[in-house]
Symmetry: C2
Subunit: 391 residues, 2 copies
């Protein structure tokens, strides 16, 4: 097995891109990443996408995007694992490079969720739940998260206002991230007064579905070190993938052993710690899957950053802010940056690289040398965890 | 890089399974493959699927199927590359095992295309074309193939009846394959008289969309050899993946350099020959992507089994039958066995293993030791080629 480094990153603004097609979004992100990495070829293109078939009438994104970005002929596929699609694509590229079967692997996560009318996007997102036992009854992924949040409030005696810390932190950090969807600040007062979406999840609790694309270039670390160009020439520290791991849980919430324990998140995080020879305490910041605040809380617990049942209090106590014990959503997270479905997992990696290179601007975490990125599909049915380190 | 062997195969009957759900189809195939391989665990599950989100309202098949087959917790993803999805999933599993990152990789290709009403299935299949430049004008994948066939007839002075040899061979072989959808024999007369679907492609020219699932278990060859159980105990010869390669072409037919040359099929086949240290002449049989007869003809040419423009005559002259120079569709192919979308590429691998083990019954190719399986997505925009050998 070879060490793998990330030598190029690219991202588009996250938002409602009614005027930009899926392929153009992918092109913009890939161009940035390839330019930064100073590569004009790739051995493989891994596309993370969740709903292009349903919402854009477009499948086979691998061949489409490879051709559109000037890589016609290159091996290319799409990887889907609900909202963890992007992270799962990163992991497949990692496997190919670490295993010695590819030298330059390109990953792009791309999604367009806003360019549809009526309830099509919500119906499409519901394909991430168990269609026979959940979606058929009208349940959407956010409604599942709402049940988890209600249970969390009951079990751990937590109030709606207690969850505000997550969204306040996310919006504060998004405010200074030029690629983020939201730049407005939230307060506990505005949080609790927000219109209800799926009780008890309200508008300021849930991440907004959005459009966007993010891309990275992976190469063997040895190769990255030997080059005098690319990211190295830009003075950016090289970022290595110290660990990559994935796991699953039951898709349907009712089938899980414990609705308040993200076992896939735990399993993938602990496998990642083991690979990297680290523990939760060694991590300087974490990009977690805060599609809803309860998921951020449960992710903190599953990754070992907070005790079981202590995720909300950890956030409320300032543990997740920029100077906290484990800063999360450092460039806005899903809540503040916006949540472009299958692209989200790649955005997390891009943002972690920004932090590790010291390129996070006003969002910079001081002395960030070890970052964790964890993406969840279907409220934790799939979890993909990466640990990135600054070499 | 490690050698990789296939130690278990499983498949369901191909057909219209109105009474069996997607997850049950996957379970049936996986159970067979795992039982044959004598394994009760896997390091990863790779699902090949094209349209479950669109047609069954079900995404995130990785987590769903992993749990349903008793592998809850196992890393699992879905791979999509239009009708090459199954073969692309096999390739991802191969990468993981060959690269040393997984020891037991499970692949299942699964698709339900018949369990929908009206034109939903055709609309969904059209997502495999370029949505902005093809599907938007009403073009389906089969209509694209029809344009290729019309051009073939024009360029190479070929008549409709000349293409009959492909379908006659496919149905003849399917007739003795218990898993195949069709068991009726075709003649040149019945072929030319069949109802038109997309002129000049008629009902007996095109493969029928179907439901089905096929599964395989991949392990390192060294590990397979050291075991005294599983496929070895059944007296079945071990089958090794001698080569695995993938390539792409432009998705839209009008964008391709030459509408009558499958450049991705050529590139992936030649990369595979190089990996295996072989040439087309060394291959004893080939499972090609005969979704339409013209695709079978063009695949024969791209893989080097026939000269450019000579694919149809090669078939007409008997080159593709059981005792021919390069037998194809040896257990029915897409045309005779039926074409369950994202499962098709895994069926091809399963059938090649049957041949190499000498388990193909009345369909057995004498002394079959080297087989090629090639799957196309979107009429050749994606091509995945595997070469399997009997050790």
């Amino acid at each position: 097995m070879r060490d793998v480094s990330i030598i190029g990153i690219g991202q588009t603004q996250v938002g409602e891109h009614w005027d930009i097609s899926l392929r153009h979004l992918a092109l913009e992100a890939i161009k940035s990443a390839a330019k930064e990495a100073n590569v004009d070829r790739a051995d493989g293109l891994f596309v993370g996408n969740m709903l292009a078939g349903e919402l854009s009438g477009q499948g086979n994104l691998g061949a489409l995007i490879a051709d559109f970005v000037g890589l016609r002929g290159v091996e290319a596929i799409t990887i889907e694992a609900a909202s963890a699609s992007g992270a799962a694509a990163v992991r497949q590229a990692y496997l190919a490079v670490a295993g010695g079967l590819m030298d330059i692997a390109l990953v792009v996560g791309v999604e367009k969720l806003s360019d549809v009318v009526g309830s099509a996007a919500i119906t499409a997102q519901a394909t991430a739940t168990d269609s026979d036992y959940e979606a058929v009854h009208g349940v959407t992924p956010l409604a599942v998260a709402a049940m988890m949040m209600r249970r969390y409030m009951h079990e751990y005696d937590t109030a709606l206002a207690d969850f505000a810390a997550f969204s306040i932190n996310a919006h504060l950090n998004a405010g200074t991230n030029p690629y983020a969807m939201f730049h407005n600040k939230l307060t506990v007062q505005s949080f609790v007064k927000a219109p209800m979406v799926a009780d008890p999840i309200n508008l300021f609790d849930a991440a907004a579905p959005a459009d966007g694309a993010a891309a990275i270039v992976l190469v063997p670390s040895e190769w990255a070190k030997s080059r005098g160009d690319g990211s190295a020439a830009n003075g950016a520290a090289r970022v290595r993938i110290a660990a990559s791991a994935a796991a699953t849980d039951a898709l349907g919430l009712a089938e899980r052993r414990d609705p308040l324990w993200l076992s896939a998140a735990e399993a993938s995080a602990h496998r990642a710690y083991e690979q990297a020879g680290m523990a939760a305490k060694d991590v300087h910041f974490a990009e977690l899957h805060d599609a809803a605040t309860v998921l951020a809380a449960l992710s903190l617990e599953a990754c070992g950053f907070a005790e079981r049942g202590g995720g909300v209090n950890f956030a409320k106590g300032g543990g997740i802010i920029r100077d906290g014990k484990t800063p999360i959503s450092t460039l806005g997270g899903l809540k503040g940056r916006g949540d472009p479905g299958g692209a989200t997992g790649v955005y997390q990696i891009v943002e972690a690289v920004q932090q590790l290179r010291g390129q996070a601007g006003p969002n910079q975490i001081a002395n960030a040398r070890i970052g964790l990125a964890q993406s969840l599909g279907a409220n934790g049915a799939t979890a993909v965890t990466h640990i990135l380190v600054r070499d």
